[in-house]
Amino acid sequence: GGSDAKDETSASASSAAPEAKAKAKVGLAYDIGGRGDQSFNDAAAAGLDKAKGEFGLETKELETAPGETDAQKEERLRLLASSGFNPVIAVGFAYSASVKKVAAEFPDVKFAIIDDADATGPNVSNLVFAEEQGSFLVGAAAALKSKKGNVGFVGGVEVPLIQKFEAGFVAGAKAVKSDIKIQTKYLSQPPDFTGFNDPAKGKTAAQGMYDGGADVVYQAAGGSGGGVFEAAKAAGAMAIGVDSDQAKTADAAVADVIITSMLKKIDVAVYDFLKNFTSGSVKAGESRYDLKAGGVDFSTTGGKIDDIKAQLDEYKQKIVNGEITVPTTP
């Protein structure tokens, strides 16, 4: 089971809040893709934008290039920290080693890192998510909505983070129907990250699943996910979105195939972190955004799963109170 983000405290006392009068300068370092990827990085950007408007922050966002070394990532964080940006937010576990190192060099600067709990330090906040829990629920939804007893999962790149989505989805689907057929496919293998940017492959893989008898496919494939929706539309079948409420963000022409989305509220995490920062209550250590904390969830836009919402809420409750423990590896 997960613990509440608000309850999580770190051993070391957090340092004094910055003077509220001075405009805080927030530095944010993106993972590959950067702002505009309509996925993971954009979610962080949304949180930043919201906080910026509300708290009147000054912000600076830096993007990364593919194929960087840790040293180059460190340099990005160092540049921000040494140019007076505080706090500094690193998006993605790729920054794990760099945040750990640079945070130690700048003890007066607050750091936050998303999707990583390894980089620890008195001035580091780790914003992590229970993707498997949210995925469990959409897995259950898929199984409940599937008429053919056959569902699919399309992952962008076969990395442990995406495997967490798969693990949760599979567990959720099996919880509903233990003999359900589940097809899975990853579009590329690391370090080939094109699987996150190849809608054509996403479409082909999903078509293969629909042709293979699936009627619901869940995608955790970043920019390739659009292809999955296209395939669903063409096959007259159903799809499940990821990260944000994609029934809202996807193009109107395909939005109606998206029965639900697994919400991973990176925007909320970033926003919360900045809010705490401005109010001087940032806590170091892990903030776990799980079902209980509302950090992951499923969406109901479009009303396609209204009929099964009660069942899903039941599963949700069981996970929150620990009756069901969702696996994190397939």
Partner: protein
């Protein structure tokens, strides 16, 4: 014609002068093109270039550039060995990634103590790189498969293999969302030195390895029989065959040596940075190497300059973003530099050829013309 031009085109070693003039002109030209792009996008070129230079001259960034360029340089040398005999090894990328993964796994197992372990890691990397590259060489000489195709395909196969190996039940160790090999014990890390005053950051000892490889490359190619044969094959395969060079063996040797150097490409990062092969391990250095080898005309010193320039441009993208200039500008600059450098080289080369001919003809034909006029 003036005595000055005479000297310039005649007796002065042209290579020395133009080897410097051409790239400098090209970089200036690339700067002009970039300025135009900046102006169109509404940014100030002056600000941009000042920031670039300011950033690039901070001690920290200097160290970063030096360390990054070590890997770039090794990759360029690996590519250049092939190029010198007309082999296009696009596969350096796959070679170094596979090599680094297996070497990291061996190193992480801590079979040997201290320095011996680092040497073992390097040895494994070199062997794996060489073996993987030799597949393309063998396919070429036994089955006539173009190395351009086979190395592209072998890159993809290497990706699949590393993906399969780097899983929790094989060579990988899961920690949070990251997966990597068991870290290499500390006593096997490559040493570094705080050479640049003003920063505690260390210059990695693989910079020295890269320099040694560069010197070795130059010596091997220019001073040894093997190098002579390799260059001869590259310049004219039929002439090499007639001179007794076993071209098939040269193809395999060149691929093996290229692959062995490729195996080293991941070592600066593995033994001097991350100490494990993980999802974060840099990919794509093989392609960077192609660009740098071409930029440096496969010349040991030229490639060093190219590697430093490339590393400088890479490190500058952060500084540009601080000015709200999009980082893609760096890529545009890189491409423009490559293009303008080669065009500058080509123009200089043409000028040199004509000048050399003029010199030869003049020295030979002068008495003849007098004689001819008398008839």
């Amino acid at each position: 014609m003036s005595a000055f031009m005479e000297r310039l085109t005649g007796r002065v070693k042209l290579d020395g002068v133009f080897a410097i003039v051409a790239p400098v002109l090209a970089v200036v030209f690339a700067g002009l093109v970039t300025s135009v792009v900046l102006l169109i996008a509404g940014n100030s070129p002056a600000d941009a270039f000042t920031t670039l230079l300011d950033q690039g001259s901070t001690p920290r960034i200097i160290v970063l550039i030096l360390n990054t360029s070590a890997a770039y340089y090794l990759s360029a040398v690996a590519v250049a060995i092939g190029f010198r005999m007309n082999l296009f090894n696009i596969g350096v990328d796959g070679q170094y990634r596979l090599a680094a993964l297996l070497a990291a796994a061996v190193g992480g197992a801590g079979l040997l103590p201290g320095v011996l372990n680092s040497l073992l890691v390097v040895l494994v990397a070199v062997l794996v790189g060489a073996l993987w590259a030799s597949i393309a060489g063998l396919l070429k000489v036994t089955r006539g498969v173009s190395e351009v195709i086979s190395t592209i395909m072998l890159n993809a196969i290497a990706t699949g293999l590393t993906g399969w190996l780097l899983t929790a039940d094989r060579l990988g160790v899961l920690s949070g969302n990251a997966i990597g090999t068991t870290p290499i014990p500390e006593d096997a890390h490559a040493p570094g030195w705080a050479l640049i005053p003003g920063t505690p950051m260390q210059v990695n000892s693989f910079l020295i390895v890269a320099i040694i490889v560069g010197v070795g490359y130059a010596v091997l190619l220019n001073r040894t029989r093997f190098g002579f044969n390799l260059r001869a094959t590259g310049r004219s395969e039929p002439a090499a065959v007639a001179s007794g060079v076993d071209v098939k063996r040269m193809v395999i040797s060149a691929m093996v040596i290229s692959g062995a150097v490729a195996g080293l490409v991941g070592m600066p990062e593995l033994l001097g940075g991350s100490f494990q092969y993980s999802l974060n391990f840099p990919a794509g250095l093989g392609f960077t190497g192609i660009a740098i080898a071409l930029l440096g005309r496969n010349n040991a010193v030229g490639m060093a300059v190219g590697a430093l320039l490339w590393a400088f441009l890479d490190s500058s993208s952060n500084a540009l973003q601080i000015l709200d200039i999009s980082k893609e500008l760096v890529d545009i600059m890189k491409g423009v530099i490559v293009l303008s450098v080669i065009i500058a080289y080509e123009l200089v080369h043409r000028y040199r050829t004509v000048a050399a001919q003029r010199r030869v003809s003049r020295e030979l034909a002068a008495p003849a013309e007098v004689e001819g006029a008398a008839v």
